[in-house]
Symmetry: C2
Subunit: 330 residues, 2 copies
DNA sequence: TTAATTCTTGTAATCGATTACATTTACAGT
DNA sequence: ACTGTAAATGTAATCGATTACAAGAATTAA
């Protein structure tokens, strides 16, 4: 292996000088720089990051914690994060938690162990105060979710407003019996989306019925199961607002299985604008979160925090968009 | 920051002893071990990985190179890799190449720079000989694809056989006009799948028509576009075999847009068994690759190679399965 | 020419672990 | 009690970079 020592020796300079050349410090004469660079190229020298990392106490790695990569919602966010990271010379470690606390804890260790410089959490369930356990602050950004309690900077959208907009869309199509398939409301985003839904109903004098509001786990099967329940009601809803596309996909599957037409019999709206929402039949009306940008911003914010730990990071609310497709307007 | 020195001092032993406790070496008396462990716990000591990594010249990181994470085909594979890695104390770095050579090269640097110990490539287009550039071997595993030319161990399935089976299924349903939507045949897997398709046609005395065989890029839009072309033929095919589910999804979209019925007018078979294949309407007949296992095996093989660089790694062909769903049998 | 100043370069400490080798301790056998 | 062996522990080198500080070289000002 070619080390900085070997390069220094071959170039007839000290390791300090080689290091200066590597790190683009200006205090090197053109002649020397040239000489060193020539040797580096000839020897195909590559600095050993392990040495550098130890010395600088930085790994240039950031952890991205995601509950499961199987929800396509996360895909573009990850891409955004990676691009932002790459731009600053960082790389990302993919960590799937399955929403298990032990996993999250294990990944948190990596920061304590200096293997990573910071964390972006895409997992809405992350319990930071428990994880941090009173210890000093580490660079963390929460993406797509936030908790007022914990003091972790976030990037997200205004979920209440967005849900309001989606619900209003259904109402304005003439629907009066609108169901909500939600997920665990201890996630702030879920509770906000419900608030938006309720507000819309209220503003348009539509009574909110308990039996139209379901809480299920966030996956396809539970979307199906939730819809099945709704279809068994005497007064079936004529529209369903799902707080996640993946739930909407399940709901649609179940509606079609029951022989109903979308949107004539039942209209469906989702949330997230995953790629499949425009590939499926019918295409899905949904709220588009700016996923790539959210990821990119989260990455940018985290790296800013890593570079300057003192600095206070501002939270960020990005724009969303209602995308109307076949599932509500045939 | 608590270092091993501080722990040693507080426990009244040498750093060597603390290190032995950390690494579970047996040459420590029960009494001493207990004492050291107590101090470590009290101080919440966490070994600094940067120090360890430099000394052992291992990062315990593996690179997973993926063209784009937006093809859900990769999702379960990644999960398999991560689980296998975690079991051995490794973590994964996610690297998206967009199939760009420069990106791949940049990631390869990470190995030369010791930032990662090995690579699993999910990118069928990776040009290893160019990347390696005659330099000594690094631990690499190719997953889902292989090239006979380059001497890189792989885990995959028998693509020719699998494609044969899918094509035969369509033939046995009575189809005579069967199209193939393929992708760039310089990917071995693509060329093998075509071979399987051709072999099936031949075995059942069905002529292979040039105009039924398309090569497109591997994404939804090109699936649509390919199908559109097929629908413009005078003699439209009655069945289509797509070498990737994502293409099949596009094809199905286009078929329905044209007002045709699936599978009555046109049957569709895919390849990969991505999650959406059973969520969509109609559900998709496809070849299921054992994605999780492939990932897990690739992870296992890579780590084996990292731990013992001399050892010759055996290639692995795993089982596949034809899953028949609505898109071929209403 | 000399002194002051600025640029370049080198020396050696350092980051935090692991580990070869040396040394001490414990204990069994006689 | 003495010796030999095994077990436990310690000392110090080492991994490959960065960087504070020192020192030498070059330039400028007088």
């Amino acid at each position: 292996m070619i080390t900085i020592q070997k390069v220094a020796e071959l170039a007839g300079v000290s390791v300090a000088t080689v290091s200066r050349v590597i790190n683009q410090k200006k205090a090197v004469s053109a002649k020397t720089r040239e000489k060193v660079e020539k040797v580096m190229k000839e020897m195909q020298y590559e600095p050993n990051m392990l040495g550098r990392n130890l010395r600088t106490s930085q790994s240039n790695l950031i952890i991205v914690m995601v509950p499961t990569i199987s929800n396509p919602f996360y895909v573009k966010i990850m891409k955004g994060i990676e691009d932002a990271a790459l731009k600053e010379g960082f790389h990302i470690m993919l960590c799937m938690t399955d929403s298990q606390y032990e996993r999250e804890e294990a990944y948190f260790h990596l920061i304590r162990q200096k293997l990573a410089d910071g964390i972006i959490s895409l997992d809405p369930g992350t319990n930071f105060s428990k994880l941090l356990n009173g210890s000093k602050k580490y660079p963390i950004i929460q993406c797509c979710e936030y908790s007022e309690l914990e003091d972790v900077p976030y990037v997200a959208i205004d979920n209440k407003e967005a849900a309001y907009k989606a619900s209003k869309h259904l109402i304005q199509l003439g629907h009066k019996r609108i169901a909500l398939i939600n997920t665990d409301e201890h996630y702030i985003y879920a509770s906000h989306r419900k608030q938006g839904y309720l507000q819309a109903l209220k503003d348009y004098q539509i009574p909110a019925l308990e039996e139209y509001m379901l809480n299920v786990e966030l996956n396809f099967e539970h979307g199906q199961r939730g819809m099945r329940k709704l279809l068994q009601l005497k007064e079936k809803p004529t529209a369903v607002f799902c707080v996640s596309d993946i739930l909407a996909v399940g709901a649609i599957k179940e509606i079609m299985r029951g022989g109903y037409k979308i949107p004539q019999d039942i209209a469906v709206a989702g949330f997230d604008n995953i790629e499949f929402s425009y590939m499926m039949n019918p295409t899905l009306t949904t709220i588009a979160q700016p996923m790539y940008e959210m990821g990119a911003e989260a990455g940018r914010m985290l790296i800013q925090q890593i570079k300057n730990k003192e600095e206070k990071i501002e939270n960020l609310l990005l724009d969303y968009e209602l995308i109307i497709r076949e599932s509500t307007m045939g």
